[in-house]
Every structure is written in structure tokens, then in C-alpha cells.
Symmetry: C2
Subunit: 106 residues, 2 copies
Amino acid sequence: MEETNHQPHLCDKVEHSYQLIGKKWIGLIIHSLLDEPKRFSEIHAYIPDLSKRVLNERIKELEESGIILRNVITDRPVRVEYSLTRKGNELGKALKAVEAWAEKWL
Amino acid sequence: MEETNHQPHLCDKVEHSYQLIGKKWIGLIIHSLLDEPKRFSEIHAYIPDLSKRVLNERIKELEESGIILRNVITDRPVRVEYSLTRKGNELGKALKAVEAWAEKWL
DNA sequence: AGAGATCGGTTACTTTTAGTAACAATCGAA
DNA sequence: TTCGATTGTTACTAAAAGTAACCGATCTCT
């Protein structure tokens, strides 16, 4: 912090949500999982500019926030799938409003 | 880029929008301007953890993207106000969906 | 059985982005 | 005429993201 006259307002939840979606790649990752669960490598193929290191980091953060779920599928071969929770799915739907804005204005 | 099998999809506009709102502070800055125009120092007071250096940078980016407008009001003393364009206002309204999600889930 | 390839990561290192603090030009008030 | 507010800028540090090489556990091919 730099100066100190922050009087007013600004809801904690709202602030928190902007801090969430204000992180690089979060929006696209959620978008990519909206239709169906995806494997690590599928997300990575879908968003090639996102490095594996950061993808891994984002996935862990989104898991901690209860937005995505890690499912280990014990078939042969063992696969790891990521899916949206209900919370995550609803965030994805909220972000659709931004996507609609993008279609109109960009 | 790291590997090279990015086959499919992903709309440019959508990608661009996520790159926009995926930048730190952008969401909160737009939120802060949604009700009424604000001066530099008012935005800064509203979001105290955002440094002046970065606020200045973000403002320039948002101006270039046609989302906010810089109005120099030639009264005494001269003031500088920032307001949302129509484009910016609609983005702000789209972000309200995310805020509603935050109210419900956070 | 051995040689590769794939998958889901991790590690070590570099580059980019954000935070901090100090400064400055302009103005008006005391 | 000195002070504070306002809107920045500059120089420097710290944090976040990008890059590339590596790993262990399967699989596939021959």
C-alpha cells in the first residue's frame, strides 16, 4: 500500500471475484471445461500459449477455490480428467455474458 | 510456446476478452466507474491496493481499447475525469453477472 | 525384451509484470 | 510564499509468468 485514505465501500466478495477472474488464463480454462471435462493435455492443446507450469498452478488454485474437480479415472490407461463443479459451472455461465459482449464489441 | 499440437477452435474475440478482463485490476476499475465518472485520485482511493503507476498504465490501456474516456474539465482548478464509454458500460454490465455469482458462491 | 512415445507433471532459470517510494509540474488556498 | 492536492513519472525491487529440459509410470511397436 502506498497512501492511506481508503475510506469507503467495495464488497469483499466482489473484490475477491475480480481477483479470481483477474488472473491470467483463468477465464479461458473455465471456458474450456464448460462443455465437457477435459484432460490436462487437452486443456493444454486448447490453450497452447498457456504453459504446463502455469496450467498446473491454475488448476491447483481452481481446485482450492472449489471451481474445478480432479478426477482420476482408474481405467487402463489411468487418466486424469478435470471438470467444473456446480460453482464453477455457474461462474462459466456468468462469464458467457462477457463473451457475448466480446462478440458484439470486439 | 512449448509444444505444437494446437489443433482446434477458440474464437479470437472471446480469447481477446479474457485477455482483457484477465489483467489484474481491470475488473475493479470498470466496476468503480459504473455508477459515475471518477477522478484519478478517486479511483485510487476506491482501490487503495492498486498503485498509481499501474492505475495509470491500466487507464491508458482501457482508453486505447475504447472502454474508458479521459475528460479534462477546464474549470478552475482543472480536473481530469474518467468515464466509461458505451462499450465500457456494457462490459461493466456483463461483469455484473460475475458479481452476482460472487454474491451467491463466495 | 527393448526402444520410443504419451501423459501429467516438476525443476531450474529467464523475462515480464506489478509494487514501492521518491520526485515533479501545476494550481489554489492560507 | 509556503503548503497541500492533483495527476502523473521515474528508478528500483519483488512477484508472476514463460521456457526448456527432465521424470516416473504406463503403453505401443517390433
